[in-house]
């Protein structure tokens, strides 16, 4: 607050304060947008890395050689997958040939609302991997569908689906044991695994039915 020898009239004073406030707003907005621009690539890279970490869990990186996150097909809202909103399907290719597709599926009938899954299905219809990405199942009871929360570290529950294929296992066996299928479940929490199992078989059926059409769809990042 420097001493100012000049005296101001009221409007002059108001104009001066307004001008100073304006200068401050300009400076700090510039600072904000500068910081945003400067950090954007790094933030996007780490977001992509997070996504890849999830993808790595359902499909090993050795099985494909394309830039998977850029090789996408836009999916409209698909009732078979429980998707109420548009989503993205990723195509894994090796030497230009598709080997698997990775997409989101939703089990709408979890014990506490929707369970979001990421599913990878190979060309031959075998499940490469399933992971739960978002759910509100009861902690300590139904949340074993999440690998991190599963007490069985050797063989977490959700890895049962890995390698499962309709060619070997009939549709009727894609059920929890209580319903006469072959999928294990923990006593006391049947609703959750039943919902996940149903969503996975639906996803596999959908993938088998749509594969040719999807592989024929030109994807955004595919090489010509």
């Amino acid at each position: 607050m420097t001493a100012n020898p000049r005296t101001f009239t009221a409007p002059g004073m108001a104009a001066r304060t307004a001008a100073i406030l304006f200068v401050f707003v300009i400076i700090f907005t510039a600072l904000l947008s500068g910081a945003y621009q400067w950090t954007k690539p790094a933030i996007e890279a780490s977001a992509a890395e997070e996504k890849m970490k999830l993808v790595d869990e359902v499909l090993p990186r050795s099985e494909y050689d394309n830039k998977l996150l850029e090789d996408t097909i836009a999916l409209p809202a698909t009732a078979e997958l429980g998707l109420a909103e548009p989503s993205k399907l990723y195509i894994a290719r090796r030497a230009g040939q598709p080997v698997a597709m990775i997409f989101e599926a939703v089990a709408p009938d979890g014990y506490a609302g929707k369970i979001r899954l990421i599913v990878a299905v190979r060309n031959d219809g075998a499940v490469a991997g399933v992971r739960a990405t978002q759910h509100k199942e009861t902690p300590g009871l139904g949340d074993y569908i999440e690998v991190k929360k599963d007490k069985n570290k050797q063989r977490p529950w959700i890895t049962q689906f890995t390698g499962l294929s309709l060619a070997d296992v009939g549709e009727r066996e894609w059920r929890v044991k209580k319903d006469g299928g072959r999928i294990d479940y923990h006593a006391g929490a049947t609703v959750t695994p039943r919902a996940v199992t149903k969503a996975v078989i639906k996803a596999v059926l959908w993938a088998n039915a749509q594969r040719d059409r999807l592989y024929a769809t030109p994807s955004k990042g595919a090489r010509p």
Binding site: M1, T2, R16, T17, I20, L21, F24, V25, F28, T29, L31, L32, A35, Y36, W38, T39, A42, I43, S46
Partner: protein, 229 residues
């Protein structure tokens, strides 16, 4: 420059005499929400230390250009811009730390301690002193929130350092009370935080009153030994 004496005064003010949480009673909103365990309290305080040091130094450097009448909007502008920049920089450059501290940074916006220190200290003092003030006010907040969080956690769920595995995955929370401890929900809910904070304030006032009593009752004969209490 800054003298040793000045640093000591600033430190004493921040950590004890004007402690943000138990003397100024500021920033109750994040305090009540976050201190359900000690780790959360410490993390929020660390994020606050960074933001307070930065906003104090920014305001202190610019204090001669800010007209008195519009100082509050300008301070808010500076604090909000700095919180956002810190948030972005953390996300971009220290992503691992961001995953841990990240959720606490936006909470600082609801914390009036930052604005209070900017208004009552940084607007009147040089940058170096203001930086120290920000850091020591933050340290004062850190120990208070750590103690409050630890008490609530111990009473509420019988553990200590719950959530530490989020910061250091190798360390496990310590179960202090037996597994069969039924838990005491009140301590984990905001009313419990109020009650325990009240106890801490009472303890602080009692300590101060005792110190004042001692200072008043100077021993008439220096050789006389008082009973230790």
């Amino acid at each position: 420059m800054i003298s040793r004496e000045e640093i000591r005064t600033i430190a004493n003010n921040g950590i004890w005499k004007q402690n943000t949480s138990i003397v100024q009673i500021l920033g109750l909103c994040p305090l009540l929400a976050v201190t359900t365990n000690a780790v959360n309290g410490i993390m929020l305080s660390l994020a606050t230390i960074i933001v307070m040091a930065l906003s104090n130094v920014a305001v202190a450097s610019l204090r001669n250009f800010i007209p008195h009448e519009i100082r509050i909007p300008v301070f808010i502008l500076i604090v909000a811009a700095l919180v956002t920049v810190v948030d972005l920089l953390f996300n971009a450059n220290l992503h691992e730390l961001y995953l841990v501290l990240g959720i606490f940074i936006p909470l600082i916006v609801t914390n009036c301690i930052v604005l209070a220190r900017v208004e009552s200290f940084a607007a009147k003092n040089p940058p170096l002193q203001s930086t120290f003030d920000g850091v020591f006010m933050g340290i004062g907040m850190l120990w208070t929130l750590a103690v409050l969080g630890a008490m609530r956690e111990l009473l509420g769920s019988g553990t200590l350092l719950g959530g530490i595995d989020m910061v250091f995955p190798s360390i496990q929370p310590i179960q202090l009370l037996p597994e069969s401890y039924p838990g005491f929900l009140l301590a984990l809910l905001p009313p419990g935080a109020f009650i325990l904070l009240g106890c801490m304030i009472a303890w602080k006032n009692w300590m101060d009153a005792r110190a004042a009593e001692k200072a008043k009752r100077k021993p008439p004969v220096p050789a006389e030994v008082f009973g230790c209490n």
